[in-house]
């Protein structure tokens, strides 16, 4: 059972009622199927009503839902024979970034993604999906490896940002991110970047320069977290809800702004309610995208990639 978010309470109440009626009907042997089906219909309607009218802050909560499928889940669902590759060959291995080779619909591909944990212990081990320079250097290494063996690259973005720490700075966080963006700019194989949860700052973009950017319906993407925006610009970290509305972070907006190419639908109520279906929908969208890209000669691929980023910000609204 997925953890309930505050705004989902009305749905939960209906669901509780339904299960009470079920138990009651069983115990007393009374047929309540009519009442139950009315309530079930109502629950579906309420969920749709809530989920079709989410505020930006509610989207943030869904994108960060602890039970939302993470990179590791999607690797398990979508890739066969996955073998993880560790280390940046310079300093160490960054557990906040997972990468390796696997089969996607029969084709060998390279998969790289930030990996958040699902509980505190896992999150501590994975540093909450906040990468150090070695995470980006591992990603670069795996991308160059993919290029050598002509494998497409799929990147899963799920991070509040790159890690702000002493070691990260000493080892050149800024250089690692810049260099990784450069490597993606010139990589001769298709890159599909998918935002599956939250994507914030250069920390997200460090594995995000794709030929196509896909965003799951309830994922979010921006230059800074709403908390960061509120505390830096307004000196008031309690205004994070307002900041979420202000900076345009939801998938629909990111698509309108010409950054996200496709929005990948999620099961009603979010990916965490039905990870299997979420993975299936995501897999379908990645497969379609890959078909579009595999047909392109490397020169065309690179020219189109250049054009995609070159034109961002030429707002014609």
């Amino acid at each position: 059972m997925a953890a309930i978010l505050e705004f989902e309470k009305p749905i939960q109440e209906l669901e509780n009622k339904i299960s009470e009626l079920r138990i009651f009907s069983k115990e007393k042997g009374i047929d309540l199927s009519n009442e139950i089906s009315i309530l079930e219909k109502r629950a579906v309607e309420v969920r749709e009503l809530i989920y079709n009218n989410l505020t930006a802050w509610q989207q943030v909560l869904i994108a960060r839902h602890p039970e939302r499928p993470n990179t590791s889940d999607y690797i398990n669902y979508l890739f066969q024979d996955f073998i993880e590759m560790r280390g940046d060959r310079c300093f160490g291995d960054d557990p906040a970034v997972i990468g390796g080779i696997g089969r996607f619909n029969g084709r060998a591909v390279t998969v790289i993604g930030q990996l958040k944990g699902k509980d505190t212990k896992e999150n501590l081990a994975r540093n909450f999906g906040m990468a150090h320079p070695e995470g980006y250097r591992k990603a670069m290494r795996l991308m160059k490896q993919a290029e050598k063996f002509n494998r497409p690259v799929i990147c899963f973005i799920d991070t509040p940002g790159a890690y702000p720490g002493i070691g990260a700075e000493e080892r050149g966080q800024f250089e690692a991110i810049a260099r990784s963006i450069l490597v993606m700019s010139t990589l001769k194989v298709p890159i599909i970047a998918v935002v599956i949860g939250e994507g914030f700052s250069g920390g997200a973009l460090g594995i995000g320069v794709g030929d196509r950017i896909l965003m799951q319906e309830h994922s979010i993407y921006s230059v800074i977290t709403p908390e960061g925006y509120a505390s830096i610009l307004w000196k008031d970290s309690t205004r994070n809800r307002e900041a979420a509305e202000t900076i345009r972070i939801i998938a629909r907006d990111i698509q309108k702004l010409g950054v996200a190419d496709k929005i990948v639908p999620e099961p009603m109520g979010g990916a965490q309610r039905d990870p299997g279906t979420a993975a299936e929908l995501l897999g379908r969208s990645i497969a379609e995208t890959m078909d579009e890209l595999l047909d392109l000669a490397p020169e065309i691929l690179l020219a189109q990639r250049y054009e995609k980023y070159r034109s961002i910000g030429n707002l014609a609204d």
Partner: protein
Amino acid sequence: MVLEAFRKQKQITVQPDAENRDIPEGIWSKCSRCSEVLLNKDLIKNYKVCHKCGFHFRLTVAERIKMILDEGSFREMDANILPVNPFKLADYERKISEARKKSGLNEAVVAGEGTIEGVPVVTAIMDTNFMMGSMGTVVGEKITRAIEAAAAKRKPLIIFAASGGARMQEGILSLMQLAKTVEALARLSEAGQLYISVLTDPTTGGVSASFAALGDVILAEPEAMIGFTGPRVIEQTIRQKLPEGFQRAEFFEQHGFVDKIVPRPQMKETLAKLLKLHLQGE
């Protein structure tokens, strides 16, 4: 709307009076590090470096042009691109107009062509007086155009970075300027052109994590604050005080991310030397 602004580009030179714009008001300045009281006339003569402790004051674009480029050689490009406010934020609109007033600039970067000891270059110079040199759509566009101009005209490129990072008020569009500028640099590099990145105080966030980090040569001014995350955020995160000198230019030189720290009085001759060393083969 923005497209239109971009199309209306004209080549104009920096107004002569603009070059003198930032001589500090009054006759005296106080060094913000050693508190020495300095005669402004002497301070300017000494490249805005404190003669007592060597502290490098931040420069305006006009001052930088004067100190680096041959006299009268600078021709500005894309001067008339005005700031944009894609999400129509009232706060941001206000900040933009304050910044324009304070800096006398249209945006946080000025790009153009000029010569350094006779060697033609394309240059882009950032200015912290305009919203801490932050990079939004227009800064990204101007930097990208400068990179493209260097490639098209086969001239070396020098960018003086001075920025707190990506401009938050333009959200994802600011973030994408990292990719845009770096993609352009990749092409410049393929064209075999020299790019010198000069890191000045401060170079952090999205600017350090994009074009500023990718020079063929990376120079820095003494004690410039450099890094991805600013020291305040790091201190808040790790809940400890950062050591003296952390993230300064000298720190990054030691850790292998800066080729050379160049005190400002030697900057022009160092750049000229580098430029001429790259002319040899041509």
